[in-house]
């Protein structure tokens, strides 16, 4: 999934006609000051850190300013921040609007209904997780025919809108639906959606694009806001790779088996730090590549847990042996292997020839991996 920074999300909104405050991105305090001096962003204005984490308001990552000097000072302060682990590199400056009410709108997926879902609440401006369930209305949207008039009227009623703002909502929801559908979004969220005079304005924008639809939207390929450097490399090599807070590297095949492996390791006191899902491959080179990537994450030990299906055991064994040959001695790590399934005997033999023992049982192999990483048992 590609999480877009607020300003990128608002670029998407603009394309589809969702009403926005006047605003502009700045990457330095000077640029920020210049934007207001030039009148590109009217004063007073809001200066917002462009980070993906929520709760910016409370965290000092959103500030208000009434003069160019204040803008410069606020911009400089925010650009220095490290906010929930993200360094602030970009700001969004926007005009400050006279807000009558703050509402919540989102479109996402209802998995059970297999339909998009419109989420509406009159309690905007706070994290939706903190809003009581009875104040949130969820409307499934059939992809055929899409968002309908009566659903938009229902949303207006839930939001307590009538007259001009209700008409504005009708248009805005069409635009939001078109954006969700047209950009293959997982989520489009406006929180808060502000009632300003007779109209509505999206004060924030949260847009998450689905990775799998990248072939239709090459413009998002460049965005890497939410990944670690190694995750980024893995993505380029099309290897599923996640970094957690731990020290055992796990290489498995298949999401379910990977998770089960984590569960077993955790049970015996292990802390899986990186996991790498080989998926279904029958190319030893791909396996080698994955191992070399794992080596770069510097795990204390690596646990290889493979059940051969599409990916055959001998393929993995060959790739592994080649990788171990390529890893410099200084970067070597203890390896515990368990390979089962298709071509199991061949795979075990290849490993044995390279001095690696395969432990057939998941429990015993996991315990060995935990011990190798220096934990108990």
């Amino acid at each position: 999934m590609v999480k877009l920074a607020e300003w990128r999300g608002k670029d998407v909104f603009r394309t589809y006609g969702v009403p926005l405050p006047k605003g502009h991105v700045a990457r330095s305090a000077e640029e920020a000051e210049q934007l207001v001096r030039a009148g590109t962003v009217p004063l007073p204005c809001v200066i917002k850190a462009q980070v993906l984490a929520g709760g910016r308001g409370k965290g000092g990552a959103v500030q208000f300013a009434g003069t160019p000097a204040e803008v410069r000072a606020a911009a400089a302060a925010i650009l220095g921040l490290e906010f929930k682990g993200e360094r602030v590199k970009e700001l969004l400056l926007e005009e400050k609007l006279p807000i009558a009410r703050e509402l919540y709108l989102a479109l996402t997926l209802d998995r059970a209904a297999r339909m998009p879902m419109l989420i509406v609440s009159a309690q905007g401006g706070v994290e939706i997780e903190s809003v009581p369930d009875e104040q949130i209305v969820r409307l499934p949207i059939d992809p055929f025919p899409g968002l309908t008039g009566y659903q938009k009227r229902r949303a207006a009623k839930v939001l307590g809108l009538s007259g001009g703002p209700a008409k504005a909502l009708d248009r805005l929801l069409d635009a939001l639906w078109a954006a969700f559908d047209g950009e293959d979004a997982e989520l489009v969220e406006i929180n808060p959606l502000a009632v300003v005079g007779d109209g509505l304005v999206a004060l924030d924008a949260k847009v998450i694009i689905e990775d799998d639809a990248a072939f239709r939207h090459p413009q998002y390929a460049e965005i890497r806001d939410d990944r670690t450097p190694l995750e980024e490399i893995a993505r380029e090599k099309e290897i599923a790779f996640v970094q957690l807070d731990g020290n055992i590297g796990v290489i498995a095949n298949g999401a379910g088996l990977t998770m089960a492996t984590l569960d077993v390791l955790a049970e015996y006191g292990g802390r899986p730090g990186v996991f790498l899902d080989l998926g279904g491959t029958d190319d030893p080179a791909k396996v080698t590549e994955a191992f070399l990537l794992m080596a770069r994450a510097k795990p204390r030990a690596v646990f290889l847990n493979i059940f051969g299906g599409v990916t055959r055991c001998d393929t993995v064994a060959k790739g592994l042996v080649e990788a171990m040959r390529q890893v410099p001695a200084s970067e070597r790590f203890p390896l515990v292997a368990r390979i089962r399934g298709n071509n199991e005997a061949e795979g075990i033999e290849i490993l044995r020839a390279a001095g690696i023992t395969s432990i057939p049982q998941l429990r015993e192999s996991a315990q060995a991996a935990v011990a190798a990483a220096g934990g108990r048992p």
Binding site: R114, F215, L257, A260, G309
Partner: protein, 294 residues
């Protein structure tokens, strides 16, 4: 008997001339499946593993009587392939292809449903009924005919578990790998009634994952409508929130779809929940000894 497939199942492989299509056509045939046709536009007249290739599913159905499809075509073309098969009269389509945009899958699901067709998948191992037929990519070696039904959102983990059941001396009636995507054609709730009705299934092993509420929904169904014993396992108990664990569907967000809620719901519904995959065979054997759940 078996679920979804039977002795009359005739498979057309869409995307048969691709690498995966070819490999698994061979494997399905080795499993004893009647793979009667393949489809790759522009490749009509050729054969793959002895199976004739057609330009369209319509041609394949007309000429061979194919009644189930196994889809391997790349993600950007998968929607078209599914619609084509449904339109040609296919009523069971196993979609192996991974990385299909869920917006496409929404179209596919609702179209298939409007025509009374069933989708298994996408991004799934498919269906295997040992001794009868296989539509999909599950490895042949892990199976053995028997009376345990398996329904799973996982791929490889399913093979591991099915293999464990075999090594314990038991066998499977039918195993269905539903796939781990956010939108699947068939969910636990859709699959459970098939096993309830299957006289050759004595017990069901349900393999779930974190993310979504499919397991909670399954628990509701089991509590209200399912009479056979259920042994369940939920992968991802130790996965951190907000990280996508390989499967696009396997993500804990906003506190929904945690392993804890799933395990609690299944236990409340009377299922036996294993803490680790290797516990499953013993629990299955014990449940079979005890007989019906109620």
């Amino acid at each position: 008997m078996s679920v979804l497939v039977d002795a009359g199942t005739k498979v057309v492989v869409q995307g048969i001339t691709g690498h995966q299509g070819t490999v698994h056509t061979r494997q399905m045939k080795l499993f004893g499946t009647a793979v009667v046709a393949g489809v790759t536009p522009g490749k009509a007249g050729s054969t793959v593993e002895g199976t004739p290739v057609f330009d369209s599913v319509r041609d394949a159905v007309e000429r061979t009587g194919a009644n189930a499809s196994c889809i391997f075509v790349p993600a950007p073309y998968a929607q078209d392939a599914l619609l084509e098969s449904v339109d040609a009269g296919i009523r069971l389509a196993v979609i192996v292809t991974e990385h299909i945009p869920f917006h496409d899958m929404l179209v596919m699901y609702h179209y298939a449903r409007s025509r009374g067709a069933r989708i298994i998948g996408p991004n799934c191992p498919g269906i295997a009924a040992p001794g009868t037929a296989k539509v999909g990519i599950t490895p042949n070696v892990v199976f053995r005919p028997g009376r345990v039904g398996v329904i799973s959102r996982s791929g490889t983990l399913t093979y591991e578990i099915v293999n464990g059941i075999k090594e314990h001396g038991l066998g499977q009636s039918t195993c269905i790998g539903l796939g781990g995507d956010p939108v699947v054609g068939t969910s636990f709730v859709d699959a459970l009634p098939l096993f309830e009705a299957d006289p050759d299934t004595d017990l069901v092993v349900l393999v779930g994952e974190i993310g979504g509420t499919a397991e909670e929904d399954a628990a509701d169904y089991i509590r209200q409508h399912f009479s056979k014993p259920v042994v369940a396992y939920i992968a991802g108990r130790s996965a951190p929130p907000g990280k996508r664990m390989g499967h696009a569907g396997a993500i804990i967000s906003r506190g929904r779809g945690t392993a804890a809620t799933k395990v609690a719901a299944l236990e409340a519904a009377g299922a036996t929940v294993a803490r680790f995959p290797y516990e499953i065979p013993d629990l299955v054997a014990a449940a079979l000894r005890d007989g019906a759940r109620r």
